[in-house]
């Protein structure tokens, strides 16, 4: 195991996204960007492989303003970063992303192992890992809940609906890991400080994709709305109604709903 690559995504921070209650649309203004939550597990899985094998651990990401992700990603234990930042990635679907990532990994000369997480916070398409494997010609192993090197190959456990499947992986592979695989620690102060000194290299879209048609998104989002809130929004104590009257009103309302 000489080179392990972890792919991660730089996504809008879900905690900052607000929902307009009237239109149910998502307000994205002022939203900060963050490392995809599940990818912290992917990076930590890579860090553990590195600890066991001494491999070179490279982070690869493609998206918009991904340069800003370096500090966080590198502080989690990656040795170096290879990133692509292009506005064209704003509408990327899983096909686009995996084509671009495959191009980047190709330029790096491939890897013995590529680690992804199962999905991203923003799209949750669960496709990038398997697609990447197909494009690179590597084996694809999904739902990985345990991963450890054994000699030249890898042992992995796959968490499936009805049980756990243990597999041996020989040759280059793309694994996608589930959050159960580990508990990523918070980076320490020294790791955060050390991240600044780690090498990171940018690559342009044109350098990794020859034919732009191959990365044109095929999936268009027509509508994205928050689930409808089914509350009645009745306030029984509004306007200075006393507790006794409010309770009476509540009982009446519950009776009218058939709850009582």
């Amino acid at each position: 195991m000489k080179r392990v690559i972890v792919c991660y995504k730089w996504v809008p921070d879900g905690a900052d996204i607000r929902i307009d209650e009237r239109t149910r649309t998502l307000a994205m203004d002022g939203v900060s960007w963050t490392l995809n939550d599940f990818d912290r597990n992917a990076i930590e899985a890579g860090v553990q492989i590195k600890a066991a094998t001494g491999c070179d651990l490279i982070g690869v990401t493609a998206g918009v303003d991904t340069e800003a992700s370096g500090k966080d990603a590198l502080s989690r234990g990656l040795d170096s970063l290879y990133y692509l930042s292009d506005q064209a990635m704003a509408d990327a679907d899983s096909r686009t992303t995996s084509e671009v990532l495959a191009g980047m990994i190709g330029r790096l000369g491939g890897a013995d192992l590529v680690i992804c997480s199962e999905a991203s916070d923003d799209e949750y398409a669960q496709q990038t890992g398997p697609r990447l494997a197909a494009l690179l010609g590597y084996s694809s192993v999904t739902c990985v809940s345990a991963l450890s090197p054994s000699g030249e190959s890898l042992s992995a456990s796959r968490k499936l609906e009805e049980g756990v499947e243990d597999v041996e992986i020989a040759g280059p592979a793309v694994v996608s890991v589930v959050p159960d695989i580990n508990q990523p620690p918070f980076p320490s102060v020294k790791q955060i400080l050390g991240a600044k000194k780690k090498p990171s290299q940018a690559v342009a879209l044109a350098e990794v994709v020859g034919d732009m048609d191959r990365i044109r998104p095929q999936l268009r989002t027509d509508s994205l709305l928050a689930p409808e809130v089914s509350r009645k929004r009745v306030s029984l104590s509004a306007g200075g109604v006393g507790a006794a009257d409010a309770v009476a009103g509540l009982l009446k309302a519950l009776a009218a709903e058939g709850v009582l």
Binding site: F186, S188, V189, K190, I192, L193, K196
Partner: protein, 429 residues
């Protein structure tokens, strides 16, 4: 050889200013904060008097994420259903940078300030939780954060009112319920136009409103409201001692405050964005701990630098100035051979004494007691309500001269106490 010349713990306005000045002065600095981002955990009522940061970064308001320049000040005395307000507006007079004040939201403002410190060359790490100070042969030699040991020749404590590190070090006593207040605050979103119309403000202008009396249920404390660009900072501060004896909880007081007829229309239709609560040092000069020891300085809220006069509430301008003076002292120490012993760092206290920080704290040393006089919170609001109700109520009954109406009310409020309050208040503020 230490990792850094100075480690600053806490990236609020005091810590970030200190780190900025230290980095500008050529020292190697590490700024640590426990929030996910600098400012993430910090709370203010909402107004920054600009003068002290203006001295550090001239023209900062043009670059910083300030919300509005305050041009309108009001103070209201409230009973449960009435409000008497003094309203002061002078947009032109509050416009020069040294006398201006701005409403701010700390999450944005502190992140910006820490960013400036980073640009000046300081290392910023957050989240970083400092567990204790590092000791080497009894001397402070840095900090311990989790598994990390980070060494420095000096440490600046800017870790806020609770300053656990200062307490561990025996520099600061346990907080006394008498000397702290607790504040809660909601940020309520409203369109910019609505705020301008409701508060009679031109674009970019802001209002600062203080409320005394009913909001704190007669306890020592008061409400505040600051207008941001597209939100209001509405809050209530009550002394911990008062709350401990009160049967009403702060959140319930706050809900009642929001429903007060003088407040409800101001926040009508607004959406709640954020809720926060925080302790406020209100003990004044007497509660300022030792701010200097070997290899360590204390700044900002950790140093209890806060002044509440009832009509103005200040903390951030002191914090910024203390951060700057701590930095100046440390830069001087570094340039004079790197001696950071107490004798050298005492220069920080002398600088503070020569500056407005300790001068103002001394000038208003009796303000905390005056602020705590009970009359302020129940007698005077009732008195004002009575006087103005008399003046403005016409019922068709034969009229009585205003002075004849006012005298009995003054007598009822207690002329002796009133005179004492006027006298003591006049002396205190």
């Amino acid at each position: 050889m230490s990792d850094y010349d100075v480690i600053v713990v806490g990236a609020g306005v005091a810590g970030a200013t200190s780190a900025y000045c230290l980095a500008k002065g050529g020292l190697s600095v590490l700024l640590l904060d426990r929030g996910d981002a600098a400012g993430a955990k910090n709370v203010t009522g909402g107004r920054l008097y600009a003068h002290s940061l203006e001295r550090v970064m001239p023209g900062f308001a043009g670059r910083a994420p300030v919300e509005r320049r305050v041009t309108r000040e009001t103070i209201s005395l409230m009973t449960a259903d009435s409000s008497v307000t003094i309203d002061f507006q002078k947009p032109g007079g509050m416009s020069d940078p040294a006398s201006a004040s701005y409403t701010v939201l700390r999450a944005e403002f502190d992140a910006w300030l820490a960013g400036e410190a980073e640009k000046a060359g300081c290392d910023l790490v957050c989240p970083a939780h400092v567990d204790r100070l590092l000791k080497d042969n009894g001397r402070i030699a840095g900090v311990v954060a989790g598994d990390d040991t980070l060494t420095a020749d000096a440490v600046v404590l800017a870790d806020g009112i609770n300053s656990l590190l200062a307490r561990q070090e025996g520099l600061k006593p346990e907080l006394s319920a008498h000397a702290v207040a607790v504040g809660c605050k909601e940020i309520i979103e409203l369109p910019e136009r609505v705020i301008n119309d409701r508060f009679n403000l031109a674009e970019g202008e802001g209002a600062a409103r203080l409320f005394a009396g009913a909001p704190s249920g007669g306890l020592v404390g008061g409400g505040f409201l600051y207008t941001n660009k597209t939100s209001l900072s509405l809050g209530l501060v009550v002394t911990v001692e008062g709350l401990a004896r009160s049967r009403t909880r702060l959140p319930d007081m706050f809900e009642a405050f929001k429903k007060h007829p003088a407040v409800a229309p101001l926040i009508e239709g607004g959406a709640l964005l954020e809720y926060s609560a925080h302790l406020v040092p209100e003990g004044g000069l007497k509660t300022i701990p030792d701010l200097v020891s070997d290899n360590i300085l204390i700044v900002g809220d950790a140093a209890n630098l806060c002044l509440n006069l009832g009509y103005t509430v200040r903390g951030m301008d002191f914090a910024i100035a203390s951060g700057q003076m701590a930095a100046e002292t440390l830069i001087e120490a570094k340039n004079n051979g790197g001696d950071y012993s107490k004798g050298v760092l005492d220069g920080y206290w002398r600088r503070m004494e020569d500056s407005f920080v300790l001068k103002d704290m001394k000038t208003y040393k009796n303000a905390p007691e005056f602020i705590e006089r009970p009359g302020t919170y129940n007698v005077y609001p009732e008195l004002m309500d009575g006087i103005f109700s008399d003046l403005f109520t016409i019922t068709g009954e034969p009229a009585v001269l205003a002075r004849k109406k006012i005298w009995p009310r003054l007598r009822k409020a207690g002329m002796g106490g009133l005179a004492m309050d006027l006298l003591k208040g006049g002396n205190a503020i």
